[in-house]
Symmetry: C2
Subunit: 152 residues, 2 copies
């Protein structure tokens, strides 16, 4: 993926829905990641965020996680390995299934989760301020509409 320069919009560059969606998505991610790192969560990355989004605070069975996330179990395992090394999550043997493992947050992980929630709300408030309430609501509804599976 080509990284976005944090510059004003270049009129020579392509302009269409896909481009604008990509730019806006990237801008959000960059802002979020920066704020997370600023909050002391240096281990934070985009792919890890994607995975953490699927791990509820109460924990989850690794197999369930694999089933939900939609990437290979090996990829998830590697991501979990990294997060475990960082001390964000831990894995316990599942008492109900000796093959299985339970993924849950450490205190460090829960703190990061809390910071993440706070930062998301802050960014969202910024967006609301910049766009205005009405357009912001329209944006949210439109994005939801586009994310829904297309009828064929």
């Amino acid at each position: 993926m080509v990284k976005q320069l944090d510059e004003n919009i270049d009129p020579a560059l392509p302009d269409h829905v896909g481009w604008r969606l990509w730019q806006a998505s990237r801008a959000w991610q960059a802002e979020f990641a920066e704020a997370m790192r600023a909050a002391g969560h240096g281990w934070f990355s985009e792919s890890r965020a994607g995975l953490l989004g699927h791990i509820p605070r109460r924990g989850i069975r690794q197999a369930t996680l694999i089933e939900r996330v939609g990437i290979s179990k090996q990829a998830i395992q590697q991501l979990l390995d990294g997060l475990e090394t960082e001390g964000v999550i831990a894995r316990l043997p599942d008492p109900e299934d000796k093959r299985g493992k339970l993924v849950h947050y450490t205190q460090r992980g829960l703190t990061a989760l809390g910071d993440g929630d706070r930062i998301k709300l802050e960014i969202e408030r910024g967006y609301r301020d910049r766009l205005g309430q009405g357009p912001f609501e329209t944006l949210m509804a439109a994005l939801r509409g586009l994310a829904e599976r297309q009828a064929r």
Copy 2:
């Protein structure tokens, strides 16, 4: 990045602007890439698309490209190597600077570019139909607003 399952929205998953932007952006890219491959451009990938977006039809000096795209010159070189192998672009020595090279499209590349433009318009038309003209315009304006560099 965790790959999105092409399924209906799961209410248990996180929901905020960033998430919706990401989903919508991903959906666009998936739709575009699928259409491109269906149009016979099997070499097409997201990172290549990002680079091609910066190469105008009239060609460009490789150094200028590097300056604009915002990733390392080695990364660009590797992407160009791939595209050259695929026969999408070609590199000529710059007659005005013996250090430099000029990147330009082959016929194959120009055909792909034309198909890409057509597909973009088709997707955009689909979005307009699904959202309605008014909301679509609001979406476009909002995305543009969010992509602009934030005042600090």
